[in-house]
Each structure stands twice: as C-alpha cells, then as structure tokens.
C-alpha cells in the first residue's frame, strides 16, 4: 500500500512536469487492490479498471516498466499506444485496460468460463467503479455469471464518486451496490475496503468459493477516492475540500499501521524504515525509467509503431499507408 501511494505521488508530480500526458491516482483505495492480490494464484486473471494499479505493484511487476508506460518512453511495453495507467500484463494477471468503462466486467466472466471449460482451478476477478456499474456490461456480467456459475469474483469499488457525480446517482433507489447481486442469486457482500485485513479475508473466501466451483461472488468494497479523478480534474468544483478528512472509514495505510503497532508486529522504527524504503524504491525505479525517456523530452516509441498490431499480419492497404507516411 505504501509503495503504491508513493508511486502515485511521484507519477502525479511527474505528470505536472509534463513527463506524462495524464495520470490517475488510487489514493485512499490502496487496501483493496493490494490486499486482494494475496488471494490470487498464478494463472488467475484480473480485469481491472484504471484505478487498480495496486494489483500490479503488489504482484511485483517492475515499477520502472509501469513508469515507462506512464512516460510513454522508448521502453513503454505498450509502445506509446495507450494513455498512462492503461497497463497490460498477461504474465502478472492484469488484463489490458480499456478506456471504455465496464467492458472488462463481463469479459472477466468469459475468462472465468474458459478456465472452467478447460478444467483448471484458475479464476478471474472483474473490477468496476460505482459509477460504471450502471453500464449495460455490468448487468450482462451478472447475467452470464449467474447463468453459468462462472468462477469469477465481481468487484465493485465504491469510492463515493464518479468524476463529479456522487455514488447516490449511480445507486438510485437501492440501499447498496452489493444488493444487486441478490436479484441474480449471486452471493454478495459489502465490505469496508479501507480495512486491509477485511479485504484480505473476504477476497480469500471468495476465491476459494470460485475454485471450489461454488460460483461467482459479488463484493462491494466501500472506500473513498481521496484524490482528484485524474490529472485533468479539479474536485473543488463539486465537493468540499475537507471531505476526505471527514470520511469515517479513515485512511487504509494509517489503519493498518496503527493495528500493527498496537499488536506489536511492528514498532515505530520499522514503520519509519518502511517509509524510507518505499521512497527509495520509487526513486531508483524513476531514475531507471527516465533514462529511457519521458513524453516531452523523449525518446518516445517510433511512429512506425502506429501501424503494427492492428492485425497479426499487416494487410496491403495498411502497408501502403505506412509507406506513404514514410516513417
């Protein structure tokens, strides 16, 4: 969690210095992705939104590669084609992020169905925000998961906001997001997403159910988007500046730290050392990533990359456009 927060903090600064075109932080929500990861095994697949960078960090994906993607530099694994934070890594169980909300939610169900059809014990975890959970693809996912009892965990991250729109608009007359699962006969829970240990145990339980062929679980994680929606957003136009401080579920990092101090697992000097470590780790990765360029300073991926991977093999019509472009 601390590493994810420090990573976000540094990337946001770099975005402000034009080293990246855009950035999205997960501040205040780190417990969900970071604790959830521990319930997954190799071979499982997340279908995340743009705010689950904590899954990659917790999985040990190299920070400098995440940064290279954010900087769109010459080492960007996605070759400059995607906006910052729209990561993709099959190896680390992180499905390619789409800018179109909710599409991944039902795809995760399909991946889980494929796991079942192949007879593996792997599972999928779909992710969605409170706002995006009103898209048709959300409901299609419930239908498919319910009909086929897919081994999938359907995660709704309710961080209270969808850009400027409060979760109450998305929730409508319902008392919660979790309750929607009941209409489909899907086991559904509503969990304090800022409690690292709660996230951990609920995720482990849902994963076990899925692996035991007991079907899908829907989980509403209650949390708070402490930062702006993105680097393009200024929340002062739509919510009180001190709302985050008033949030009753607190900060997940502080809560876990307090718990570990009280139970004697860590002492103050351990915590201080951890703080230094994460700053160092991010700084080392940043120096490495920046040695491969940043958006405005370059080097950036070649314009020839524009034409690759549209199809597995390039049709002549596109090849002729590439020749004409002359890159």
């Amino acid at each position: 969690m601390m590493l994810t927060r420090e990573f976000d903090r540094q990337m946001m600064i770099d975005q402000r210095q034009s080293k990246a075109s855009f950035y999205m932080q997960s501040t205040g929500e780190e417990a969900i992705a970071c604790a959830f990861h521990s319930a997954l095994r190799e071979g499982d697949m997340n279908f995340p939104t743009y705010r689950q960078q904590g899954l990659l960090v917790a999985a040990g994906y190299p920070l400098e590669l995440m940064m290279s993607q954010v900087y769109s530099n010459s080492r960007d694994p996605l070759r400059g084609r995607q906006m910052p934070v729209f990561y993709s890594s099959r190896e680390y169980g992180f499905f390619s992020i789409s800018g179109n909300l909710a599409t991944q939610f039902v795809q995760g169900v399909g991946w889980a169905m494929a796991c079942a059809l192949k007879g593996t014990s792997s599972i999928a975890a779909s992710w969605i925000g409170d706002g995006a959970s009103n898209e048709t693809d959300f409901f299609s996912a419930l239908v498919m998961a319910s009909t086929y009892r897919a081994p999938v965990i359907l995660n709704i991250v309710n961080n209270q906001w969808a850009i400027s729109t409060s979760e109450s608009v998305a929730r409508g007359l319902a008392p919660s997001f979790a309750i929607r699962g009941h209409g489909f006969g899907i086991a559904s829970l509503r969990v304090d997403g800022n409690d690292f240990l709660a996230v951990h145990s609920v995720a482990a339980w849902a994963a076990e159910r899925a692996r035991a062929n007991m079907g899908p679980t829907l989980i509403e994680w209650v949390t708070y988007r402490a930062a702006a929606h993105s680097s393009s957003d200024d929340p002062s136009g739509y919510r009180p500046a001190d709302e985050a401080q008033a949030w009753p579920l607190g900060d997940p990092i502080e809560r876990l730290t307090t718990h570990l101090l009280r139970t004697g697992v860590l002492d103050e000097s351990d915590v201080a050392a951890l703080r230094v470590d994460v700053v160092d780790e991010v700084r080392v990765a940043q120096i490495e990533a920046q040695s491969h360029g940043t958006l405005k300073q370059g080097p950036v991926p070649s314009p020839r990359e524009i034409f690759e991977d549209v199809f597995k093999s390039m049709p002549e019509s596109l090849a002729s456009q590439e020749r004409e472009a002359g890159y």
Binding site: S21, R81, M83, G99, T136, I163, V300, I306
Partner: protein, 332 residues
C-alpha cells in the same frame, strides 16, 4: 466555442420548456468540457441533470422522452463512449418515424466531442461520423467555429428528427490548425468567434465557403477546416476551402459548383480512411463533376489504425500532409 454551445442550450431552453439537457457530469458540474455550465442553476434540476453512467440508458431514455414530446439534448462525454448507445441510435431513434409511419418520432439531439489532439489515446480521440452518416434517418452536424456551433445547435434542437451533433474538442478553446508546436490563437482573435446574443440559427444542410480560390477545392469539416486553411497558407496554393458543417443532409450544390470551377478536389478528414465519409464525398464528386475533373480526387485522412497516444502528431493529418496533397493534385 464552449461559451457558444452553452449559450445555444440556454437560448433553446429559454424558448421551449420541452428542452431538457442531461448526461454524465452535465448537471451540477456543467460537463467535463464545461459546455453545460450554469444551466442547472438557471433552469433547475428537472431541466438539466446528471445522468448515471449508462450511455444506452441516456439515449434510450431520451428516445422515450422525445417520443412523448420533449426535446432532449443529451451529452455523451466523448464520442468514443457512444457505442453502448449505438443500438438506441441506429435501430431506434433513427427509424422510429419510419417504422411507425409518422405515428412516433424522436426529436432529440445527441452531442459528443470528437477528434484527437489532446493525447487522449484510442478512447478519447475518435471521429466516428461515418458510423452515423451511414445510418438512414440521422442528421449529422459538425461545426468548425463558435458562430456555427451556436446556430447549428439551436437548429438541431429545433429539428423534428434525431440529430448527431459532433463537437471537435480541439476547437473548444481556439481555431486549432494542426500546428501543434505553435501557440494556439484564442477564439477572440477569430472572425467567427463573434457570436450574437439571443436566438439565431444556422440552417442544417448548408455548407460555407471559408476561402475562395480557383485551383483546387478542399472539402473539410470540423478541425480540418482550420488545418486545410493552414495548409493553403503554408503552400500558397489558390484553393477554395468548403466547410461542410452538415454531413447529412449534404450541401451538394455548393460542393459541385466549386469543383466544377476548380476542376480538382481534395477531401480531408481526421477519421480513418477506409469507408470514411471522404469515400462518399469522392464518389459524389466524380458522379456529379466528372467532366470537370483534371485530376483524381485525393483523400487526406487518419490512417486505418486505432488512434495512438504518444505518436498522435505522427497520426494526425496535419497541414503538411494536406499541403502535399494540394501540390500533388496540382501537378497532375
């Protein structure tokens, strides 16, 4: 241009109580591009409101409201996000009048920002106009300046059939001409930023000549009008630049008059090449002005790939590519 769009909403809402405005982040906040700012405060929450994030819900509900007799004007936050609503647009809004033999109709306006140039990658940069022009029953509008944006939007809201209103997002803050490495001139220094107060319309289906010339006709719309003008200035070619303003219905007379005079034609759009609206334009020009043509019709467009992120200026059909095409047709 943002101001002009806001103003058009306000004028339409003032004149007609049945005009309602909604979409994602549109109400309290006034839209992520601020095009509906102030409307909720002025007209109240039942005339301008936030929608849940469901484009199919937004457009589907707008079809129902419009069929009842309201005039909804809804915003899709980016054109790239209209696909969940596409069924409602294509199978429903566009055909309601036809399939009910005029018993029901869908007088709604669907606004959406289009085009690249903001490092928005493949999901904040698309130009899907051809996906609308290909559909019978839809009117498709795309302004290139504040004056037209206001007049066309009021006309769109007043129109008795569904109108797709595409807003080139690179034009929100100034007449962007594709020279991304230069400072953007603000709209205030552009002739067409002079927007009259109150009510006026720009009729749907009329093109405008932005520059008269004798050697070649450039057909463009939206941002590409400014890019074409920049290319003309950079190359010194005596081109006539036509701003189509409305793609369907198309002002064929203005197009053919111009091409018959110049004998050459270059079509410019940001959208991908294959099956783009340029193909329609090229076909019409060769059909109606074949005997006047001294050179094949050229198209300068986006490449047939998704819109890239960091290479967006290598993708964007800027003044240099347009300029080369102008010179090429003149050499033929």
């Amino acid at each position: 241009m943002v101001q002009a769009i806001r103003d058009a909403h306000a004028v339409a809402m003032e004149r007609d109580e049945s005009v309602v405005v909604f979409g994602e982040d549109v109400g309290y906040f006034g839209g992520v591009f601020r095009c509906t700012q102030g409307l909720q405060q002025r007209f109240g929450e039942s005339r301008c409101f936030d929608a849940p994030i469901t484009e199919s819900g937004i457009v589907g509900a707008a079809v129902g409201m419009a069929a009842y007799g309201l005039r909804p004007c809804v915003e899709i936050q980016f054109a790239d996000y209209m696909y969940p609503a596409y069924d409602q647009i294509v199978s429903e809004a566009a055909r309601l009048r036809y399939r009910s033999a005029g018993d029901f109709s869908a007088p709604l306006t669907i606004r959406m920002p289009v085009g690249g140039g903001i490092f928005g990658g493949q999901t904040h940069s698309q130009s899907p106009e051809a996906l609308f022009t290909h559909v019978a029953g839809l009117t498709t509008v795309i302004p290139s300046n504040p004056y037209d944006a206001k007049g066309l939007l009021i006309a769109a809201i007043e129109d008795d059939d569904p109108v797709i209103f595409l807003e080139p997002k690179r034009l929100y803050n100034g007449p962007f001409d594709g020279h991304h490495d230069r400072n953007l001139t603000p709209w205030s220094r552009h002739d067409l930023s002079e927007v009259p107060e109150g009510y006026y319309t720009v009729p749907l289906g009329t093109a405008a000549r932005r520059r008269s010339g004798s050697d070649v006709t450039v057909l463009a719309y939206g941002t590409m009008v400014h890019v074409a003008l920049a290319a003309v200035a950079d190359t010194g070619v005596d081109a006539e630049v036509i701003d189509l303003r409305t793609l369907v219905p198309l002002d064929l007379t203005t197009i053919i008059d111009s091409v018959s005079k110049t004998g050459r034609c270059v079509v410019v759009h940001e959208a991908t090449l294959t099956s783009g609206f340029g193909a329609e334009l090229a076909a019409l020009v060769q059909q109606h002005a074949f005997y006047y043509l001294a050179a094949p019709v050229e198209r300068v467009t986006g490449y047939d790939t998704p819109y890239p992120h960091s290479q967006e200026w290598a993708y964007f059909p800027g003044p240099e590519r347009v300029g080369k095409a102008l010179i090429r047709v003149l050499e033929t």
